[in-house]
């Protein structure tokens, strides 16, 4: 199976508010997909549905399973870090490893201990005695030691300093990721994961506004830095979004051939963060 997640017309309502509105997408094996959206856009709700933590309308299949009804089977093949704070504070590291070893058929304790040996996390320590960064290292070590096919990360590095964040993603790529594994990740700090991603999905107001491979972005999107009369000409080509930078205009175009923009200013492929802002703020709703 190459399609790990198949979502067809998935919706989730909380009373009158629609958190996820008729969303369809696929995630294939070996991808690292960034799910990016502003607060309240529905990304966490969507991830929860994928993880079987909440039920939803529509058809959702993860690893061929119904996530909500077959959560136990699903969790043998999925790992997730929902937030850094979720490890229970009272537990000892050794107890945590004992418990996961007893409950998770795909957990390798030796691997977890090997990974933890590279950190300052000691097996006799309680989680409450560890710093926030160490707790994340612990959690990532555990998850890396599980032979899971899909890893879901929801804001995994929130509240961590830059060194831990860099380390986290380096470890994720070096120790966890291979072509058999798939990662779905949400974060606010898009810049930091931009180079990791193979795919991006933008979600806004419960809708998916972009679902594309990273390598396809330069073919569709171009950012133009321009000024003066050139700006007027460029504006006529209907940019998605326009902003001011040091007195110059920066415009972002979708599916406008680069040849049309030739001579109007400096062209480059936009950063994911800028693309995101353009898509969310500039696109007609």
């Amino acid at each position: 199976m190459t399609r790990l997640i198949e979502a067809r017309n998935v919706s989730k309502r909380f009373g009158a508010t629609v958190a996820v509105d008729d969303v369809s997408f696929d995630v294939e094996k070996g991808r690292i997909t960034g799910l990016i959206g502003p607060n309240g856009a529905g990304k966490t709700t969507l991830l929860k549905a994928v993880l079987g933590l909440t039920d939803c309308e529509g058809e959702l299949s993860v690893l061929g399973l119904d996530p909500f009804r077959q959560r136990k089977e699903l969790m043998q093949n999925i790992c997730f870090i929902a937030d850094v704070a979720v490890l229970p504070r009272w537990i000892r590291v050794s107890q945590l490893l004992d418990f996961i070893e007893a409950t998770h058929p795909r957990f390798s304790r030796a691997r977890a201990e090997e990974l933890l040996a590279q950190t300052k996390v000691r097996s006799g320590a309680k989680v409450r005695e560890l710093s926030k960064g160490m707790v994340t290292q612990l959690h990532l070590s555990i998850i890396t030691a599980v032979d899971a096919r899909l890893l879901v990360l929801d804001e995994p590095t929130i509240g961590l300093d830059i060194i831990f964040r860099k380390e986290f993603y380096a470890n994720l790529l070096n120790d966890y990721f291979d072509e058999e594994r798939t990662i779905l990740i949400t974060t606010h700090q898009v810049e930091e994961i931009e180079n990791l991603l193979t795919h991006v999905m933008f979600i806004n107001d419960g809708h998916i506004v972009l679902d594309a491979a990273m390598e396809s972005l330069p073919g569709h999107f171009v950012e133009l830095m321009t000024s003066g009369s050139n700006a007027e000409k460029a504006r006529a080509l209907r940019p998605l979004y326009e902003r001011d930078v040091f007195g110059k205009k920066v415009m972002l175009f979708e599916d406008v051939p680069r040849t049309d923009l030739e001579g109007l200013g400096e062209m480059r492929t936009p950063a994911v963060a800028d693309l995101f802002v353009a898509k969310v703020k500039g696109a007609p709703r």
Binding site: T44, K48, L51, L53, T54, D55, R71, K72, E73, L74, M75, Q76, I78, C79, F80, A82, D83, A85, V86, L87, P88, R89, W90, I91, R92, Q95, D98, F99, I100, A102, T103, H104, P105
Partner: protein
């Protein structure tokens, strides 16, 4: 099975009070028996006389006396166990939501039913068994200390205590009682689990207020007292025992209490398991407990915290 063992072990890790509380009580009881003996030792002659008198008692009277001592030792453990179980049940599904570790626990391949049932089993089986082990240890400790003390006063510990002590029978009776009590009160256990899985704050208040208010409302609105009986009479009337008469423990002979010829000297004859397990109220309680526990499983599964 492996998963259930891991889950039960997890509960003991998290709720260390399961063994700390009975251990502390065991320590206090032991210290009390020590100080008691020191204080009593001040009455030199009287004590010597009493030890002498005890040596002349029949074996059955000595057994009965030790049964009284063992009952006295067990009582504080049983009271503590009841309080401990209530607090445990109210906390076990509430704390994991409060510190948000529920998201981590649910990321492991363990069903909500397995998790909730492990918490019920902790209250109904693990806590009573741990309490039982500490009762046994404390009894042995107190009897050993008393034996040493008796020997120092010139009595014979072997004769006065060890040959007479009906340890096995009384421990068996205690074990049966410790396991039967939570079964009898299981509808309350189910209720506490449900409250723990559902309330947003102060589980203690949310759990007990309805137990008090609902019977009052029933009385005012319907004029009946079915709930009052179900809640308050139940908690004090476990059908495990034969009447005390059945065992003919003691009878009055003039103004003296005497042990009858055929009367029991241990607690075991009091226990009537047939009566217990054939009580419709017990099975009705199981049914209510099952319903409320299913409710707690449902809450853990469907409740979306964020």
């Amino acid at each position: 099975m492996n998963i259930m063992v891991a889950l039960l072990r997890r509960e003991i890790w998290e709720h260390r009070s399961i063994y700390v509380v009975p251990a502390v009580i065991g320590l206090v009881v032991t210290l009390m028996s020590l100080t008691g003996q020191v204080v009593v030792s001040a009455f030199d002659q009287a004590v010597d006389l009493a030890v002498f008198g005890a040596s002349n008692l029949g074996a059955r009277e000595r057994s009965a006396a030790i049964t009284v001592l063992m009952t006295a030792i067990s009582t504080p453990f049983i009271l503590a166990m009841s309080v401990l179980s209530v607090f445990y049940l109210l906390d076990c599904l509430y704390a994991e939501r409060k510190d948000r570790s529920i998201l981590f626990w649910r990321s492991l391949p363990v069903t909500d039913a397995e998790t909730v049932l492990s918490k019920l089993a902790t209250a109904l089986i693990v806590i009573p068994l741990v309490t039982f082990l500490l009762i046994v240890a404390t009894t042995l400790l107190v009897l050993t200390i008393s034996g040493i003390w008796l020997s120092l006063r010139g009595g014979s510990a072997a004769q006065l205590i060890w040959s007479a002590a009906p340890l096995a029978e009384n421990w068996l009776a205690a074990l049966v009682f410790l396991l039967a009590l939570p079964l009898w009160l299981s509808p309350f256990a189910g209720w506490f689990l449900l409250v723990s899985s559902w309330t947003r704050r102060s589980p203690l208040l949310v759990a007990f207020l309805p137990l008090v208010v609902a019977p009052m409302l029933e009385r005012i609105l319907l004029g009946t007292s079915w709930l009052r009986d179900a809640i308050f009479v139940r908690s004090g009337s476990m059908p495990l025992f034969r009447g005390v008469d059945a065992a003919e423990y003691l009878f009055h002979d003039g103004d003296q209490l005497k042990l009858g010829e055929s009367s029991a000297t241990t607690l075991l004859p009091l226990v009537d398991l047939g009566k217990f397990f054939s009580s419709p109220a017990l099975w009705a309680g199981f049914a209510i407990c099952a319903l409320l526990t299913a409710g707690a499983i449902y809450m853990r599964r469907y409740r979306d915290e964020s």
